[in-house]
């Protein structure tokens, strides 16, 4: 009885076959010219980051850390979207990746507040 119940929860082979082409359609990847352009953009951003590191007036300013965090997040997103094909792949993969990433990021921010690296200004 249990055995029967467990098998009915499994996907039907015909259903799986029917879904398979759909999964293939979701998987149309970009061309090699897109990959080269992405590599160029990633390199330019990295050069910009390192360049910014060597400008003392910019490093001392308030915009240095937010700028670097933004550029890092931009590079992260570009690699995930284009090289890891998350932009083209099934929505479930996006959930599997962004879900834990969101939890981890919120935990990181909470820890930064807890240990005094981030704080709210009380007037």
């Amino acid at each position: 009885m249990d055995n029967h119940a467990s098998t009915t929860n499994l996907p039907d082979s015909a259903e799986a076959q029917a879904h398979a082409p759909h999964a293939e359609e979701e998987h149309a990847h970009p061309t090699w010219s897109t990959y080269w352009k992405v590599a160029l953009i990633l390199t330019l951003i990295t050069v910009g980051e390192v360049w910014a590191y060597y400008i003392p007036s910019f490093v001392a300013g308030r915009g240095f850390v937010p700028t670097l965090l933004f550029l890092s997040a931009l590079k992260f997103t570009i690699v995930v979207m284009f090289y890891m094909h998350l932009k083209y792949d099934h929505r479930l993969f996006r959930v599997l990746f962004t879900g834990p990433l969101l939890i981890a990021s919120l935990t990181l921010i909470a820890l930064m507040f807890l240990f005094g690296h981030l704080y709210f200004k009380v007037m």
């Binding site: 082979s13 879904h19 080269w36 990633l42 670097l68 590079k75 690699v79 090289y83 479930l92 990181l108």
Partner: protein, 224 residues
């Protein structure tokens, strides 16, 4: 009963979920999600202890050696790490080209450029070599740090830095070994479009290692 019969005759090699997705690909994304949490915990630990080391060497500030009285430079070598970051970024490009070559293996190649782009062995080798080069840079960095007096036991910076970058280096090492197994398969029987998922899964892992380094490079090396 009829359902059971249908299932036993289902092709075992496909491993499709009810969404029509390959279970192995779902598994690698779930694994990458869990790895995100691992690395964020390591990064959190680094950031919590950032700037709280009592004794040097320090990452971004000059420090005085208490035994000799000499004033020493900040320990991080940004030019060398920038070079290794560039190598790892390029390895991601080589990896996607390897995947594209495997996916388009059966397509006819007329020009020399198409033959180069369609050479999966070339791009897998390039990726593995770039990964090994990155590891060489890391070995150089770790060795020079130890020579300058920074070990995992020296101070809070040393403990958190070596743990974080060491874990990342271990992941890169696993990635290089994975790529070498793909190369062995390619030499043995040739990787074709039927094997594209094998390469895709390895590529996802490799790119994940790359994106983690993107974050580490900014948070550890560039932000003072």
């Amino acid at each position: 009963m009829a359902t059971s019969v249908a299932h036993t005759s289902a092709p075992a090699a496909h491993h499709y979920t009810t969404l029509g997705l390959d279970s192995r690909k779902v598994a690698i994304w779930a694994f990458i999600g869990s790895e995100c949490m691992l690395f964020v915990s390591l990064i959190s630990t680094y950031l919590i202890y950032k700037g709280r080391s009592v004794v040097g060497p320090f990452p971004h500030e000059a420090w005085t050696d208490p035994t000799t009285g000499h004033v020493l430079k900040p320990i991080l070598n940004i030019p060398v790490t920038s070079a290794s970051t560039f190598v790892l970024l390029m390895s991601s490009l080589f990896m996607v080209l390897a995947l594209a070559a495997v996916q388009n293996k059966e397509k006819p190649k007329h020009t020399r450029g198409e033959r180069i782009l369609g050479n999966s062995k070339l791009w897998l080798w390039m990726t593995a070599i770039a990964g090994a080069t990155f590891l060489g840079f890391q070995a150089f960095e770790f060795t020079s740090f130890v020579h300058e007096g920074l070990t995992i036991r020296t101070n809070l910076f040393g403990s958190t830095f070596f743990t974080l970058t060491g874990f990342h280096g271990a992941h890169v090492t696993a990635g290089v070994l994975w790529l070498l197994t793909l190369l062995a398969i390619d030499y043995r029987r040739g990787l074709g479009s039927r094997d594209s998922l094998l390469v895709d899964i390895a590529a996802l892992y490799w790119h994940f290692v790359d994106v983690i380094w993107i974050v580490i490079f900014t948070l550890v090396y560039l932000i003072k």
